[in-house]
């Protein structure tokens, strides 16, 4: 009995397909291009691939369709998240090319780019997934490639141990998360997010809740918490961020994190919207614990990379606060006014990609000059390398939330959303903790500008890395001025909820 072959709308899948073919071409290139030309050719192919995928993604702006039996959702939420992911991947290529090629005893470049593309693809798939199964596979693809990237400097013990910790906790979290998926599936009898929402809408009424639904919700939030490194579940973060090659650290702090937030938005907001009252409070508590703990611990760090790792955890807290500010979009399926909470999270993710990868890029830049990661290695950087010091200062100030830099707008929108949702305590917490974070960010700036230099710098030329850093500095300074426009684009995410219910096969 022959099956009816489905005829998906391939036009909607083009951006993902481009990244897929990028991975394939890189794999073949790794095998057939002579090693000496990898650096130039594979880097160029990667950059072209990500740019092309980005253009194809912009092309889809305003689409609102589903294909592959509802597994694939082409909507503006997917486009915005996809842009964030592609931008982060592109910036990572700029940062990592020379690092992988020259530092840590020359690591194989071809496989690095392939894994980067696969991880990016996994995150892109999470961003468009309309089904529990695809969400799971996407996040696993993204994580799996990132585990390998973390262990990429395999000659260094810290890299392997960090990767091992990341890996074990990662698969542990996946198991917990899938158990949650199983419970949701059991309670609703479907894995399609729209269907789940519809079934729940009918069954969840008043105060009565099935215990099984709450259990599933709890397990999912724990699993997602691990993936996005929220605080009680963050054990892996410092070691993995510290151990990974520096460009990978920047990548880890943006792409898999964006994927985790994409999963949270798709699943919680889209699928489990009828359980909103239950998960909002959990997310709010998680946000508070995360930013408090991470900011306090970060103060004690003298290692710049480790400090940035904790800072990354703290920023997860801010983003979670934005998620907690989700109010409602006039019931499920409505096209009511945009919700400010989710829009602020989306904006934050984009802003954070520029800023954080930028900060790690400067760390890599210093490593290229033969220096370590300790605070002392940064002493007097401003006197010798004024541009690098200025760039790092810009990134750190942006992370801190100094106006008019990009980071300020991100935090500002989250706070506005929180006030809008009447979560005053969380808004105050963000302000207070940002003030605490100023201490450790400004300490690095102070050391760079007001200390005597203790170490010598090698003369190294890293053109690609310099271009990348320059681009990110400009973005961090200038993009803030267009923030309201970007936020308007992000606001279109609500269309995701009104995606064509009739699923095109």
């Amino acid at each position: 009995m022959p099956l009816d072959l489905i005829k998906p709308e391939w036009g909607l899948v083009v951006p993902q397909l481009i990244v897929f073919f990028l991975a394939i071409i890189l794999m073949l290139g790794d095998a057939f291009i002579p090693r000496e030309r990898h650096y130039i050719l594979l880097t160029a192919i990667s950059i072209i691939g990500y740019v092309a995928a980005g253009i194809a993604l912009i092309w889809q702006y305003g689409e609102n369709k589903a294909t592959f039996y509802g597994l694939f959702r082409a909507d503006d939420l997917g486009v915005f998240l996809g842009m964030t992911i592609l931008v982060a991947a592109l910036l990572t290529v700029f940062v990592s090319a020379s690092y992988v090629e020259y530092l840590e005893g020359r690591m194989p470049l071809g496989e690095f780019y392939v894994l980067l593309a696969l991880s990016t693809l996994g995150a892109l798939i999470v961003a468009i997934a309309g089904d529990l199964i695809l969400l799971f596979i996407g996040i696993e693809l993204s994580s799996l490639a990132t585990y390998v990237l973390t262990a990429y400097a395999k000659r260094r013990e810290t890299s392997l141990e960090g990767a091992l910790k990341y890996y074990l906790l990662g698969i542990f979290a996946s198991a917990i998360m899938v158990y949650g998926f199983a419970w949701i599936y059991g309670a609703t009898g479907t894995t399609d997010l729209t269907e789940i929402a519809r079934v729940l809408q009918a069954s969840v009424s008043g105060d009565h809740r099935e215990a099984s639904l709450l259990l599933g919700l709890l397990l999912i939030i724990v699993g997602v918490g691990f993936k996005m490194a929220a605080v009680p579940f963050h054990f892996w973060t410092p070691d993995a961020y510290d151990g990974a090659p520096t460009p990978v650290t920047g990548f880890m702090s943006s792409v898999p994190k964006t994927a985790a937030f994409a999963l949270a938005i798709r699943l919680l907001v889209q699928g489990l919207a009828p359980l909103r009252d239950d998960w909002l409070i959990l997310i709010a508590i998680l946000a508070f614990i995360t930013m408090t703990f991470a900011n306090i611990v970060a103060v004690a760090q003298r290692d710049v990379k480790r400090m940035l790792a904790y800072s990354s955890v703290a920023h997860t807290g801010y983003m979670l606060a934005g998620l907690a500010a989700y109010k409602s979009v006039s019931g499920f399926g409505g096209t009511g006014s945009g919700d400010f909470g989710i829009s602020s999270v989306l904006f934050y993710l984009l802003a954070y990609a520029f800023t954080n990868i930028g900060a790690f890029a400067v760390v890599a830049w210093v490593q290229h000059r033969g220096n370590g990661l300790d605070l002392d290695d940064y002493a007097g950087l401003a006197a010798k390398e004024p541009l690098a010091a200025a760039a790092l200062s810009v990134f750190l100030l942006s992370l801190m939330g100094m106006p008019p830099l990009l980071g300020f707008y991100a935090k500002y929108y989250v706070i506005v959303a929180l006030l809008d949702a009447k979560l005053l305590w969380l808004a105050i917490a963000i302000v207070v903790l940002s003030a605490i974070s100023a201490f450790y960010y400004l300490r690095v700036v102070a050391v760079m500008y007001f200390s005597e230099a203790k170490v010598e710098h090698k003369k190294v030329s890293t053109p690609l890395l310099n271009i990348g850093i320059a681009g990110m500095v400009i973005a961090v300074i200038a993009v803030g001025f267009f923030s309201s426009g970007i936020l308007n684009l992000a606001d279109h995410w609500t269309q995701a909820l009104s995606v064509a219910q009739a699923v095109t096969p």
């Binding site: 099956l3 090693r35 799996l144 609703t188 370590g372």
Partner: protein, 236 residues
């Protein structure tokens, strides 16, 4: 006689006992073998649930591939060489166990109080039999509803392959050796273990270098090919 109930309790008891033994056993090899026992019984559970295909997949993939690989690594690796892995501080571990028990109670409560499952689909045993059986029915679901997921999971697998190759294959430092001859091999061509090629990491940790071995002459290196079985890398 409720045969299915009796079978279930026997199989379930064996799998739970094997799982407990796996966690408690001091010897990792014993743990691995008990896990095999547990998984074979879980395959039996799948058969009882009418999922024959998954039962076979469980045996082929989990016991036939993953756990064989695991035992392989267990035998290959000297456990004393691995860092011991502290998930959390002892206090937190105690809390973790407590949390686990609470979670068990909670899951139990959820199972007991579950008044309804989702709306019924049309995959009743009769319909599945009409399609030709579990394999055919599952296959058609995978190839229509979950086609995209089916394609994407192949990428997950290829990521696994690339990851394993990148991590587990002995290093090829320096360049790819051009003059390869009959190297059908698990390993890549093996390059120069020259100290100069092993730059220190960013924190100046001791790089992993050959202990007490001198770097070979470059001339010898050029013809050198890692063309032997991986047993050379064992500690056994």
């Amino acid at each position: 006689m409720p045969w299915d109930l009796i079978f279930f309790y026997i199989i379930g008891a064996i799998s739970v006992l094997a799982a407990l033994g796996m966690v408690a056993s001091p010897n990792p090899i014993h743990s691995g073998i008990l896990l095999v026992v547990c998984f074979l019984n879980v395959a039996g559970i799948f058969v009882m649930l009418g999922a024959e295909f998954l039962a076979i997949v469980q045996v082929i993939v989990y016991t036939g591939a993953i756990l064989v690989l695991l035992l392989f690594v267990l035998m290959l690796v000297d456990p004393h060489e691995l860092p011991s892995f502290y998930l959390a501080q002892p206090l937190q571990r105690g809390v973790g166990v407590l949390l686990g028990l609470i979670l068990l109670l909670e899951i139990g409560a959820a199972i007991v109080t579950q008044t309804q499952f989702g709306p019924k689909g049309n995959a009743t045993p009769a319909n599945i039999a009409a399609m030709g059986g579990n394999v055919q029915a599952l296959g058609s679901v995978l190839q229509t509803n979950y086609l995209l997921a089916f394609e994407v999971v192949s990428l997950v697998l290829i990521t696994g392959i690339i990851g394993a190759i990148v991590l587990a294959v002995p290093e090829r430092l320096g360049q790819r050796i051009g003059t390869l001859r009959s190297t059908i091999s698990l390993g890549h061509p093996r390059g120069l273990d020259h100290p100069a090629a092993l730059m220190a990491g960013p924190r100046n940790e001791t790089p992993i270098v050959t202990k007490e071995r001198k770097a070979p002459e470059p001339a010898a290196v050029r013809r050198l090919v890692m063309a032997k079985d991986p047993d050379d890398f064992t500690s056994v």
